[in-house]
Point group: none
Chain length 211, copies 4
């Protein structure tokens, strides 16, 4: 541990940076990037707005930081217990899906602003930021594909499954669920049903089994 070697001033500096990031995140996601003035962020913290420029290059710079931070949060969602390798048959997969679905729902409820920022706000700042979000989606799709590959390898998914594209398909459904949640944050039951229908679609499609 080398953290104790930080001087008090250094720790204060780091704390202030984190506070500014937090305030910027809240302002950007609540009122939108363009509607947020640097002074709004400073006011929220009770600091002078000149101080802001001691810690971040400019407005665009802190957005980058905020988005990166936010991405960390999202990424952490996709790690942990529900690993691809944890399931061995279609029934276990369905249960895993349900666990992941619930986890996502929980995340959405706890972090609606994060979703709003990433899916609605960050898409239209500038070309670079748009690309950033697109990359994020791409990574999420590839990540999802891993689950599918495991299913194919384990023999409980069909062999001809286009794992990568299907992974992106799934991310599309999840993303749309997030957007629907943002439009109707209080309809938790509807969100649950939406998630369930994703799972059923993934596993069994729409066709009549006998068909």
């Amino acid at each position: 541990m080398n953290e104790p070697t930080l001087t008090r001033a250094e720790r204060q500096r780091i704390q202030l940076q984190a506070d500014i990031l937090e305030a910027a995140f809240l302002e950007f996601s609540e009122r939108g990037y363009h509607q947020t003035a640097i002074s709004d962020i400073a006011k929220r913290l009770g600091i002078g707005h000149g101080t802001f420029y001691r810690h971040f290059e400019n407005k665009r710079d802190i957005l980058q930081h905020v988005i990166s931070d936010t991405m960390q949060k999202i990424m952490s969602l996709l790690t942990g217990e529900n690993a691809p390798q944890a399931v061995n048959n279609i029934e276990e997969y369905r249960e895993q899906c349900q666990r992941i679905s619930e986890r996502f729902r929980l995340f959405a409820q706890e972090n609606p602003l994060t979703l709003k920022l990433l899916l609605l706000e960050a898409t239209s700042i500038d070309a670079e930021m748009t690309r950033f979000i697109q990359n994020l989606m791409q990574m999420a799709g590839i990540f999802t594909a891993n689950y599918l590959k495991h299913g194919v390898d384990s023999g409980f998914f069909r062999e001809n499954l286009d794992c990568e594209n299907t992974g992106h398909n799934i991310i599309g459904m999840i993303t749309n669920g997030a957007l629907r949640f943002l439009a109707n944050p209080e309809d938790l039951n509807g969100l649950k049903n939406y998630g369930d229908s994703i799972i059923e679609l993934i596993i069994g499609g729409v066709a009549k089994p006998s068909a």
Copy 2:
């Protein structure tokens, strides 16, 4: 035909309005709404920027018009030949999906800026516009659900299908495909594969048929 009854001045007026709308559409979708000044729109057309205000109330007003216009384009995509009732079994459904998929791909190639404006730009102008887009997605989902209901009624989709949510699921996948296309406009083959994987997922899911 009553168009010939329009005076020349009226025709000019209508033409100029259309030109301004077109220019605004291009500016908004290329550089973004907030980055576009009214004078940019005027400059693109070579008109005085005061002229703009003879035809549109204000900047927000023309955005509304641009988006409404754009929505018309999108809506027209969903009408016509490929009606739900046109198919009677799973194989015809798959073929219909392929036709629709191709039609979407064509639209995407011909109207990338339309997609960009709707899916990336318009989501963060203001709360009303965000809601507008969300409604559009909602309508598209319900529209899609009609296809599914027909399949259930006709007996080639499983009876317990949650048509409405699945309709939204499908819209999510399509939307993500559009975003992926915008990130990689030249990868037409990839887009085709993405569309195919949607169709396979919809019809058969991922589970091994025998399972």
Copy 3:
């Protein structure tokens, strides 16, 4: 009479000019010169606003005409029956004052916008217009002085009366009455009392007669 020699077109032209003047007067006095756009005047008449420029040089020009017109109205107030020579003693003078006072009150009630335009609005258009109003006041003072001179000459006013300045004094009191009326247009009784107090002050001053 040479008016019949005017062609119909000429008569129409003159009529339209008068209509524009009337409309301009109403707009200027109701909303103020700066708050009135040429198009407001045109709209009120239902004519194209380009037509305006066929009849008047520019916005400032029509104001000049409006004010001149208005001045005519005011001037006509000061002519007619109640001539200086009509009275021979202090009592007749008082009665004449009362008649004039009543006439002014009537005028105020019938032409509040005229007063508003002259006393409130026209004072701050530009230096020339201000001078114009000041001249009007000056003329009114001199005009009033004539009544006083007649009184001195006839022996019922004191010989040492500074007629000219007193004439201006009286105009000041009348003007202030007009302003007070504009602030409280419905208090007709108050206006009457104000006028009466002017008359009493003029004739007898404030000092106790015996003093």
Copy 4:
């Protein structure tokens, strides 16, 4: 004295505010409110025009401040030594009038722009400002009435004097004098005579004493 407790920054801030007010006063009264741009005020001071908005809400806001300031100046005119109670008979009253008259003339010479702003310019900014000026005149009239009431109570003015209306009469005469001065600022002698004629009119009216 607690002024020394102000920091230097605070003193600078207050000074700049005062400077902006002064500059706005000069611009508004010299060229008129509508003819004055914020940038004119800034240019006069050699500051950036954005700086203006650090100290005043908007253009209308500073007008209000300027007028309020100006009103203070005017109000201070009406206080002090020449109180109503200071006189006991008609001759002392006349002398008091002369002192006040002289004081007014001095004020007019020293503050011509103040008069111009209040009497010519401020009357036509908007309805609220017009009312503001009308209230000011009303208050001045009531204030003047107090002098008259004292005279009646003390027995050297006639008992039936309508003090309030006569107070307003007097204000009308004074106001007109101010306007005449603005039209002819160099004619100090004329102004003196005008004032004298007010006094004579007030005290003795125009009627021949014997009458």
